[in-house]
Symmetry: C2
Subunit: 245 residues, 2 copies
């Protein structure tokens, strides 16, 4: 199947088609909200504003409501339609992606709350802001791309997400090291630096969730479970699958 | 239903009974391995030993293999048996718990790896060891109890896990504050204290996963979605459910 719309066209029951399309479009709506949470959280880090925090909390409530609603749809669709093979796999994958989206939103919340604490404690320094902005924008793109990879069932794009997340991990590790050095050189900044470290940690986890989503897409399309495999191994095994075909 | 065995006794098809029992017992085996990972990781923190690390890696490989196997079983059981109502919910909950177990094991791995780094950097100080031991033992019990709550379908026990996890969060927050103060007082210890903080963070997340598992158990038994509700609200809504019955 080359994308979701084409995949649905296979069904004889147009009602079932619509249900599956509805489920996927709900998931993408939820994804859009989680992306919004992340985007606003990064803005909070650049310039804290309590109105932004309110918007994030509102998006969080919607994301949580979507999680419950989509899980209910997953349950009722399986019970009523008794899907098999690819349809069942699609539905189960949706229920897994929901969880990662909700978690990514949670991490965005933490990022925003840490901006609030820093602002209240009057600890707004430029220290670490370059790293936060760089890693924040990277993981926001990863999250968006993982959702696009789902919408298009695009394995190459999904692989690219997993690959780029490795880079984010490296950037994150090197930022942590330089922040630790900075702490030792100027212990007065310890409180602030710790805050930056927690923010980076939360952002890095958003990248992990994007990678999980990408892995679900690969599994959905290729049927290869890639959750405990390195990116290199995934590419090699996908290559051997297509060589075989 | 009062426990899993009784729940299975309802089925006419004894083969389906056995499949569901097998699925749950596989999940509990996987849970036992994840617990083992956590227990060994805490031991690593007390006294690092590369043989312990090897055992943790071996347990991790088994946990990962179980995750894939159980997810396959979930898919094939749904496809073949077309379960409805409680059976379907049980199967979907198993697939969610699997994910939390795997994540808890991942966090345990991080704890062990941080013990290895500390040992290699010869940064083994007693600082923070009381907090690590206390929080470590608390979350290990939470994880075990969340699995017991699943095996017995025991809502009270599940509620107790969620309640105790709140205490763990408070202990964790206060430990972080005192460690930050310590850093400021003695900047030479910054590297070591950061290590302790990451360890506590990973342990605290294991508690979160145990709470997720407990929430799945409550949902399974009561049909109330408790994922975005505070412990107090859950208890109140469960009370009103039983008042109604």
């Amino acid at each position: 199947m080359s994308d979701l719309r084409e995949a649905f066209a296979r069904h004889i029951s147009s009602e079932f088609n619509e249900e599956l399309e509805g489920l996927c479009s709900d998931l993408l709506k939820m994804g859009g909200l989680a992306e919004r949470q992340v985007r606003l959280a990064i803005e909070c880090q650049e310039h804290f504003d309590s109105a932004l925090l309110d918007q994030i909390k509102a998006a969080e409530n919607s994301v949580n409501a979507w999680e419950i609603r989509i899980d209910e749809l997953v349950e009722s669709t399986i019970a009523l339609r008794q899907p098999a093979a690819t349809d069942l796999r699609l539905i189960l994958v949706v229920s897994k992606i929901v969880r990662d989206l909700e978690r990514a939103g949670d991490e965005a919340n933490k990022v925003a709350e840490m901006a609030q604490h820093a602002s209240e404690a009057d600890r707004t320094s430029a220290l670490g802001s370059v790293e936060v902005k760089a890693i924040g924008e990277q993981v926001l793109r990863l999250l968006g791309d993982s959702l696009t990879a789902f919408a298009r069932l695009d394995v190459d794009m999904a692989l690219d997400v997993a690959r780029r997340d490795k880079e984010v991990d490296r950037t994150y590790q090197s930022a942590l090291r330089s922040l630790a050095t900075f702490m030792i050189e100027d212990p007065r900044e310890i409180g602030h630096v710790l805050n930056v470290m927690w923010v980076l940690r939360a952002l890095e986890r958003i990248g992990d969730h994007a990678t999980n989503i990408a892995e679900h897409v690969i599994y959905l399309v290729k049927g290869t479970d890639v959750r405990h495999t390195s990116v290199g191994n995934i590419e090699a095994s996908l290559k051997s699958v297509s060589d075989f075909n």
